[in-house]
């Protein structure tokens, strides 16, 4: 930097409490105003897409949990739907209902962590304690269905890992009660809080045109007034059977995105209640010998099932030549999986369309020309997960 230069270059991250992981932003400041903001990525690059190419289709699944680790079930769902599309497997109704219920639970999980950390960045420290208090009930639910707190890998190709527990309905209703109570706390603390409003209103504004041109998705897009939700626009996993609203913002600022995410939690609860009310009976896995794993009970007592199980674990199944794309609406936006099969038992290429990565491209537009202290708010309102950005 020469002495005549008027601007100051400031490095933010990769170890910074407000960058939600290991994001690095190079800021060029003119006084307190941001002239240029440049995100630097790759500090959590894990090579997940490349790793997927060397694994059987079944064994790819655990990698998907570890991308967006705040919404593992959404990632599982996206990948499973893509493989099921490639293999043309029909899924039983009960499985679809359970999947929808858990995907919505995952959306709440993701939004709760976002709410806590975003408020923490803006100085409201107690929010994190409240949201993590209520998140524990979701973690207990994950543990009840999948046996693990975070990386459940519960949604499998062709169905679920195991049948839902006996108390599934009662437990989910308890979780709903906890979250409903929690929502009142959060809204009392934040929605009319003058400090929160001052720090978020008019910050990180994106117009509808800008949002579309940056190909944003999820609450980032809806905050700018575009009513687009894949659950409505291109329903998957029988989302068309459920009744819910898609909240839309007006101003495209951080405050609108906050309102949208809180409303989305309410709508998720509505969908979960509908799935519980109309939960159909049936098997927890599709019956497709040779492609879908046979149920564990059969593996223990039936000869054919054991053979299929053994063959699937050691050799997997051969996918046809061809490619599919399946996008789902995760908590952060459109989570898409592109899978190219080449006739072998391993995918030729898996490409992930991560919502956080593409939404992060809006950061320079949201920061440039604004105050330096609003950068933290802008990063927070995008809701990034670095595991998904870098993969």
């Amino acid at each position: 930097m020469s002495n005549t230069s008027k601007t100051v270059t400031l490095n933010m991250g990769p170890q910074h409490p407000s960058t939600h992981g290991v994001l690095r932003v190079i800021l060029e400041l003119d006084g307190e105003t941001v002239v240029k903001a440049e995100p630097v990525l790759g500090y959590l690059h894990t090579g997940i897409e490349k790793t997927m190419e060397s694994k059987l289709y079944y064994k790819v699944l655990p990698c998907t949990d570890r991308m967006d680790y705040l919404a593992p079930m959404s990632n599982n769902l996206g990948f499973c739907l893509a493989v099921e599309k490639l293999m043309e497997i029909d899924i039983p109704d009960k499985v679809q209902w359970v999947r929808v219920c858990l995907a919505e639970l995952t959306r709440i999980n993701s939004h709760l962590v976002w709410l806590g950390t975003h408020a923490l960045d803006l100085g409201a420290m107690s929010m994190l304690l409240y949201t993590f208090r209520d998140r524990e009930s979701i973690m207990d639910m994950y543990e009840a269905v999948g046996g693990q707190r975070m990386m459940t890998t519960y949604i499998r190709i062709g169905g679920l890992a195991m049948d839902i527990p006996k108390d599934f309905e009662k437990d989910i209703r308890n979780v709903i009660k906890v979250i409903n109570n929690g929502l009142n706390d959060y809204e009392t603390l934040l929605t009319n809080n003058e400090i929160f409003i001052n720090r978020t209103k008019g910050v990180g504004v994106l117009t509808a045109d800008e949002a579309i041109n940056l190909s944003l998705s999820g609450p980032m897009l809806r905050g700018s007034g575009i009513k687009h939700d894949l659950r409505k626009a291109n329903p998957y996993s029988s989302y068309e059977k459920f009744d819910f609203e898609v909240p839309v913002g007006e101003n495209g600022d951080a405050y609108d995105r906050y309102l949208i995410r809180v409303e989305e939690i309410r709508q998720s609860i509505r969908i979960m209640e509908q799935t519980l009310d109309g939960m159909p009976e049936g098997p927890y896995r599709a019956h497709v010998p040779g492609i879908v794993m046979p149920p564990k009970e059969d593996v223990l007592y039936k000869m054919e099932s054991m053979i299929f199980h053994f063959k699937l674990i050691t050799e997997g199944f051969k996918a046809p030549v061809g490619s599919v794309y399946q996008g789902i609406e995760s908590g952060k936006g459109e989570m898409g999986f592109f899978i190219s099969g080449d006739g072998t038992n391993k995918p030729h290429r898996v490409r992930v369309r991560p919502p956080s990565f593409i939404n992060l491209a809006a950061l320079p537009k949201m920061c440039e020309g604004n105050m330096f202290s609003d950068v933290v708010c802008a990063i927070g309102s995008i809701d990034i997960v670095l595991g998904e950005v870098d993969r």
């Binding site: 959590l44 707190r149 990386m151």
Partner: protein, 167 residues
């Protein structure tokens, strides 16, 4: 017998090592530094349910210069490795490192070109915690294991010249 009988109850006689270790153990401030999935479980541990404040470490320092303990929570990529090393070097002595989760301990499921196969290749590690990710209880157990190690330490280890003078 001896001086112990003459002094009032409010005075406790102990060795310097014990007192220093007690102080280290009861106010160990971790570095607020998360990498990947394990960081979320680390936040859970610091949250209201598991409440690590019971062990005197609720204060997460955003700056390595004020931290005593580094919890490497998550996978360390080759791009991140120099940063982790720098952060470790910026921490003042005495300092401890917990490697949390399979990825930090040995690379975990990601045995590929991008991930450092174990953070102990770049910094010394005191306690390894298995799991992907470890439960908060496991992290608490790891922290308590570290405390037990701290109890056995001696300030002479950090200052070898003191030992020579005394003996």
């Amino acid at each position: 017998m001896g001086i112990e009988e003459k002094i009032p109850d409010s005075i406790i006689l102990t060795s310097l090592d014990k007192m220093v270790n007690w102080a280290h153990k009861r106010s160990m401030w971790p570095l607020g530094f998360g990498l990947a999935c394990c960081a979320i479980e680390m936040i859970s541990t610091f949250g209201p349910h598991f409440d690590v404040a019971r062990f005197g470490m609720e204060v997460m320092r955003p700056s390595p210069r004020q931290a005593d303990l580094m919890i490497v929570a998550g996978r360390v990529s080759h791009k991140m490795a120099p940063v982790v090393r720098t952060l470790y070097e910026q921490m003042p002595n005495p300092k401890w490192v917990i490697s949390m989760g399979a990825c930090a301990s040995c690379g975990g499921v990601f045995n590929n070109y991008a991930i450092v196969q174990g953070v102990d290749r770049i910094i010394p590690v005191d306690v390894y915690i298995p799991g992907c990710p470890p439960r908060p209880e496991q992290l608490l157990d790891g922290i308590l294991t570290l405390f037990k190690q701290v109890e056995k330490e001696s300030i002479k280890d950090d200052h070898p010249e003191w030992g020579r003078k005394l003996v």
